[in-house]
């Protein structure tokens, strides 16, 4: 396989709220290979968005810190970068597609003005070249009559169109890595289908890598090559996408897949994971999922399981330890 474009090693992130210190991210490690689409799946509070902000260097610097761990992007350590160095990377080598296309575009600038912003910052182009580049990228994301659209304001576009503009902005500087944070959650089903097929088309080209953050296993099944499942700030499972859906090892992943309505008989009781996601400050000793796990053993409440690995399929669960016997 190709070399990895992003490698996160034992990343920890701390937030300080007054005297409280919470760790929304604890020892997260994964990598994204060039050309891969990696899905980060998790519910609210799983730390998936915080991870992506760390990769973009967008953590609020006054209250957050990275006490340990590395983020290697294209061989470069990112966690120690200064703001000025970050600016060279953001929007240029790593770009982001946000969840809310409504609020992530500035309402007082035209589409053309907003799209020329990253070009001005990262590329030396004449006005004419800029315009040509913008129109080209707008065509790429399937925006009709781009020559007119560049003179329009965000409010004149529909939600789906705005998300296309966001994607075109992320594509503009040909980044090595794109991060999409719930890119279709705010959109309708038929528009979601449009945007997903667009993202698929984009990632199929060249060495484009995508880190796709979502809570929707359906989107993962559609889009991803590799899946990282996060729960309460930790990675609980990580595997190739078919492997994950065929052979989920962690009880949390199994629960998520089993609770999809399409995996349950119509009108029957859905499989449900009991209880609630713990808040970061509620994390106690032992396995983070133990209090909701149907298979929890005594050991799970005492000791946090290490990441067991088998042919690259990683699962952080005591059931995978060889002395417990493999339970399937």
């Amino acid at each position: 396989m190709a070399e990895s474009i992003l490698e996160i090693k034992d990343l920890k992130i701390q937030f300080q709220n007054g005297k409280h210190i919470v760790q929304p991210i604890r020892e997260v490690s994964f990598q994204i290979k060039a050309g891969q689409t990696v899905g980060i799946v998790g519910e609210s509070g799983s730390g998936k968005s915080v991870t992506s902000l760390a990769v973009m260097g967008l953590l609020p610097d006054r209250i957050s810190s990275i006490p340990s761990g590395e983020i290697l992007f294209d061989g470069k350590e990112l966690t120690k970068l200064k703001e000025k160095e970050w600016r060279k990377i953001r929007g240029n080598e790593i770009s982001m597609i946000f969840q809310e296309p409504m609020t992530s575009l500035n309402p007082v600038f035209t589409i053309g003005q907003q799209l020329s912003e990253p070009l001005k910052r990262h590329r030396q182009l004449s006005n004419k070249e800029q315009k040509a580049a913008i129109i080209k990228v707008l065509k790429q994301v399937g925006i009709p009559r781009p020559e007119q659209i560049i003179h329009e304001y965000p409010h004149q576009l529909s939600g789906g169109m705005r998300q296309r503009v966001m994607i075109s902005m992320a594509l503009l500087c040909e980044p090595k890595l794109m991060i999409a944070d719930e890119p279709t959650t705010a959109l309708d089903v038929t528009i979601q289908a449009q945007i997903l097929s667009l993202l698929k088309k984009i990632t199929s080209k060249k060495d484009r890598s995508l880190m796709l953050i979502t809570h929707d296993l359906g989107v993962v099944a559609e889009m991803c090559d590799w899946v990282v499942v996060m729960y309460a700030g930790e990675i609980v499972e990580s595997a190739e996408v078919n492997e994950l859906f065929d052979r989920p090892l962690h009880p949390y992943t199994r629960g998520l897949i089993q609770s999809l309505p399409s995996n349950n008989e119509r009108k029957s009781k859905l499989y449900a994971i009991q209880g609630q996601v713990p808040k970061p400050e509620q994390v106690k000793q032992g396995c983070i999922f133990a209090n909701r796990c149907p298979l929890a053993m005594e050991k799970c409440f005492q000791e946090s399981p290490p990441a067991f690995q088998e042919d690259g399929h990683l699962s952080k669960c005591w059931l995978q330890s060889s002395d417990e016997g493999v339970v399937r």
Partner: protein
């Protein structure tokens, strides 16, 4: 109705809610300790309240006793810490006693203006229709008048005195409450929980009293705390112009007014009352800002 439903997804009682157990008061207090501006504001307000209650016992001299032999003494002479005025009255004592006037006026004006404004704002926002249009046009008309000018006119009609200055300030100041409360009510009306109450069959009156009004307390308190200082400043301005509180009663405004004739010969006569006004207004504003930051979830939210 003995349930046949197994209550399976019972939420564990301890951990899921343990962190919200802290009482509101404690949370409030710790948040105050974390903000030096809030603490400073509270400290100034405490001093102000203390002076206005115990002023008579603290003041070193009788604030209205004139002593022409000791007139216009500069600060730190003959036991007069801040000096004396043109009638030989002790400036420190007058400032201490002046605090009471400011507190009385600030509090009672905010109470009256707040009450009138809130009631009108609620009526306007809740019932909408023509009554809303009439009331809000009234507010518009009044807002097109300079506040101080309006207060002066009303005061001129009513005559001077503590009671009348309170009434004129209240009449001049209710509009801002009406405006803010009306927009709060309009926003609340559309909230899902109000719709839920309607869907439950709660009567209109009860929706207003039990669902809308309790949710207005926070904006009301924030607004009131921010308005007090502007009322105190307005009173000082009106008294300075010769209306409002009349001498010899010590009020910071009329002290300024009396001192302005001696601005070149006795600087302390306007400096210290002026400082008193500034510090008071600053303290109350700092407190109000902190209160807003703490109570208003729209700003507090991440």
């Amino acid at each position: 109705m003995a349930s046949s439903i197994p209550n399976e997804p019972l939420i564990p009682e301890d951990d899921s809610l343990a962190f919200s157990q802290k009482t509101k008061a404690a949370e409030f207090f710790t948040s105050l300790l974390h903000s030096w501006t809030g603490l400073l504001g509270v400290a100034i307000i405490f001093i102000l309240l203390f002076l206005s209650i115990f002023g008579h016992w603290i003041a070193p001299y009788d604030p209205v006793k004139t002593e022409l032999t000791a007139k216009l003494l500069p600060p730190l002479t003959d036991g007069h810490l801040l000096g004396t005025d043109h009638l030989g009255r002790d400036l420190l004592s007058r400032i201490i006693l002046g605090a009471r006037i400011s507190v009385i006026i600030g509090l009672s004006t905010v109470l009256i203006a707040g009450l009138i404004g809130t009631v009108i704002g609620i009526i306007s926002g809740f019932f909408r229709g023509w009554i809303d249009i009439v009331l809000m046009r009234l507010v518009d008309v009044q807002l097109s008048f300079p506040f101080i000018l309006l207060v002066l006119i009303i005061n001129a009609v009513l005559g001077a005195g503590l009671k009348n200055i309170i009434i004129s300030l209240a009449i001049g100041g209710w509009v801002i409450f009406a405006r803010v409360i009306r927009s709060e009510v309009l926003a609340l009306r559309e909230k899902d929980f109000i719709q839920a109450a309607v869907a439950t069959g709660v009567s209109r009156f009860e929706i207003l009293i039990k669902h809308i009004v309790p949710n207005l307390f926070t904006p009301m308190i924030i607004l009131a705390s921010l308005q007090i200082s502007s009322f105190i400043i307005a009173e000082a301005s009106v008294s300075f112009l010769g209306f409002g509180v009349q001498p010899p009663t010590p009020a910071w405004g009329n002290m300024l007014s009396e001192g302005k004739d001696f601005i070149f010969s006795a600087w302390w006569l306007i400096t210290f009352p002026g400082l008193a006004i500034i510090i008071t207004a600053l303290g109350i504003n700092l407190f109000g800002d902190w209160l807003r930051d703490t109570l208003d979830p729209k700003i507090k939210g991440k």
